[in-house]
C-alpha cells in the first residue's frame, strides 16, 4: 500500500475518531506537576544553590572562628567562587524558564534542549572541581593549624604528611572525576545522544 492511498482511507474514517477528556480533567492536568527533563535540571540547580549557600555559611563561620592570616583569604575565595557560580546558575535557570514557555519549531527546540543539557553537564563538572579544590585547601589549612598549634607535637615530618595528603587527594580527585562522569552519563548521557541523533536526522537533507 502507498502512503497516499493510506491517507485517503484514513481521511474517510477520520470523523469516527472520538477522544474526549472532560473540562475538569483538562483543568486538573494543567495544574499538575511536570516531569520534563528541564524541570529535573531546574531542581538540580536549586539543589546546587542550596549547597553553595552551605559553603558560604561555612566560610563565614570559618572567617570568625579562625582569625589567623591563612584562613580569611581562603574564606573570601570560597565566597567569591560561590557567588560566581550563583550568577552562572541563575542565568542558566532564567534561560530554562524562557525556553520552557517558548514553542519554536522542532529543530530549534531540539537545539535548545541539547544546549541546556550540555551547559548543565559543564556546570556540574566545574562545581565538582570547585568542591574538590576548596576541600583540598581547607584540609591543608586546618591540618597545618592543628599541628602548628599543638605544643605537644615537637617533631613533625611535614614532607611526608604533605606527600600522603596530596597522594590521597589525587586518588579522591580521580574517583570524583570518574564518578561524576558516570553519574551524568547515566542521568542524561543516553538521552543527550538520542536528541543529537534526532537533530542530525532532521538536518540531513
Amino acid at each position: 500500500m502507498e502512503l497516499d492511498e493510506f491517507k485517503q482511507i484514513l481521511q474517510s474514517i477520520k470523523s469516527e475518531e472520538h477522544f474526549v477528556h472532560s473540562d475538569e480533567t483538562l483543568q486538573r492536568i494543567i495544574h499538575s506537576k511536570t516531569s520534563s527533563v528541564i524541570d529535573k535540571i531546574k531542581k538540580s540547580i536549586v539543589f546546587e544553590f542550596a549547597v553553595g549557600i552551605i559553603f558560604i555559611a561555612a566560610s563565614i563561620w570559618t572567617w570568625f572562628s579562625y582569625p589567623g592570616g591563612y584562613v580569611r583569604p581562603f574564606s573570601m575565595l570560597t565566597i567569591m567562587l560561590c557567588c560566581y557560580f550563583f550568577i552562572y546558575l541563575f542565568n542558566l535557570y532564567r534561560k530554562m524558564n524562557t525556553y520552557e514557555s517558548a514553542s519554536p519549531a522542532v529543530r530549534e527546540k531540539l537545539q535548545q534542549v541539547i544546549n541546556i543539557l550540555q551547559e548543565f553537564v559543564r556546570v556540574y563538572f566545574q562545581l565538582s572541581i570547585l568542591v574538590l579544590l576548596i576541600a583540598f585547601i581547607f584540609g591543608l589549612i586546618t591540618g597545618y593549624l592543628r599541628v602548628a598549634g599543638d605544643a605537644a607535637i615537637i617533631k613533625f615530618n611535614w614532607q611526608r604528611a604533605l606527600f600522603l595528603y596530596i597522594g590521597w587527594f589525587a586518588i579522591w580527585s580521580v574517583f570524583t572525576y570518574f564518578f561524576s562522569k558516570w553519574y551524568v552519563k547515566r542521568l542524561y548521557g543516553n538521552y543527550l545522544q538520542q536528541l543529537k541523533g534526532h537533530l542530525k536526522d532532521l538536518e540531513n537533507g
Binding site: M1, E2, L3, D4, F6, K7, I9, L10, Q11, S12, I13, E16, E17, F19, V20, H21, D23, L26, Q27, I29, I30, S32, T34, S35, S36, V37, K40, E100, S101, A102, S103, P104, A105, V106, R107, E108, K109, L110, V113, N190, Y191, L195, H198, D201, L202, E203, G205
Partner: protein, 162 residues
C-alpha cells in the same frame, strides 16, 4: 491572551491532535497518559507566547511534537509490534484485505524514526510541505526530499508486515 477557560475550551476542541501524537509515539497506556499530561502542561506554559500568528491547531501540533520528540523517560521501553494499537483500523468498514494493508502500514510507520513519524503525521493531516517545514524548522524542499524517501521506505516496510 487566553484565559484558563478559553485555553481549556480550545484544547477540548483539538484534543484529538494530542491523542494522535500520544498514540504515535507511545505504546503503553501509562506512557500515553504521561505524554498527554506533559503536552498539555507545555501548551499551558506556552500559551502566553501564542499570538495567534498560526491556527491554534497548528500551534498545538508543534507543542505536541516538540514534547513527544524530546520526552524524557528514565526507562526507555522498546516498542513491540504486537502491542500496536490496531483498533484505529477496525472502525472503518473496509474489506479484510484493505484492513490488513492498513495494519501493515501502521506497523511500518511505527518502525520509523521519531522525526520521520512527525513528518508522516503532519502529511496525513493534510499540511503542505511549507507548513510542515515551519513546524519542523526545515525548508519545504527538505520536507519534499524526506517525504519521498519515507514513502519508498513505507511501501517496502508495509509489504514485510502483510
Amino acid at each position: 491572551m487566553y484565559s484558563e477557560q478559553e485555553f481549556i475550551n480550545a484544547v477540548r476542541d483539538n484534543q484529538n491532535i494530542v491523542h494522535k501524537v500520544c498514540n504515535l509515539y507511545m505504546q503503553h497506556d501509562g506512557d500515553k497518559e504521561d505524554l498527554f499530561q506533559e503536552i498539555l502542561l507545555n501548551a499551558w506554559k506556552g500559551i502566553k507566547n501564542f499570538k495567534g500568528e498560526a491556527k491554534f491547531s497548528t500551534w498545538l501540533y508543534r507543542v505536541a511534537l516538540n514534547t513527544a520528540i524530546t520526552f524524557y523517560r528514565k526507562d526507555q521501553r522498546k516498542v513491540a509490534f504486537s502491542e500496536l494499537n490496531e483498533q484505529q483500523v477496525s472502525v472503518a468498514e473496509n474489506t479484510q484485505g484493505e484492513e490488513d494493508q492498513m495494519i501493515a502500514m501502521y506497523k511500518a510507520i511505527s518502525t520509523l524514526s521519531n522525526i520521520d513519524k512527525a513528518l508522516v503525521m503532519l502529511y496525513l493531516e493534510n499540511y503542505d510541505y511549507l507548513e510542515i517545514g515551519h513546524i519542523m524548522g526545515i525548508t519545504a524542499n527538505n520536507v519534499a526530499v524526506k517525504m519521498n524517501r519515507i514513502k519508498i521506505k513505507l511501501k517496502e516496510y508495509s509489504k514485510k508486515y502483510l
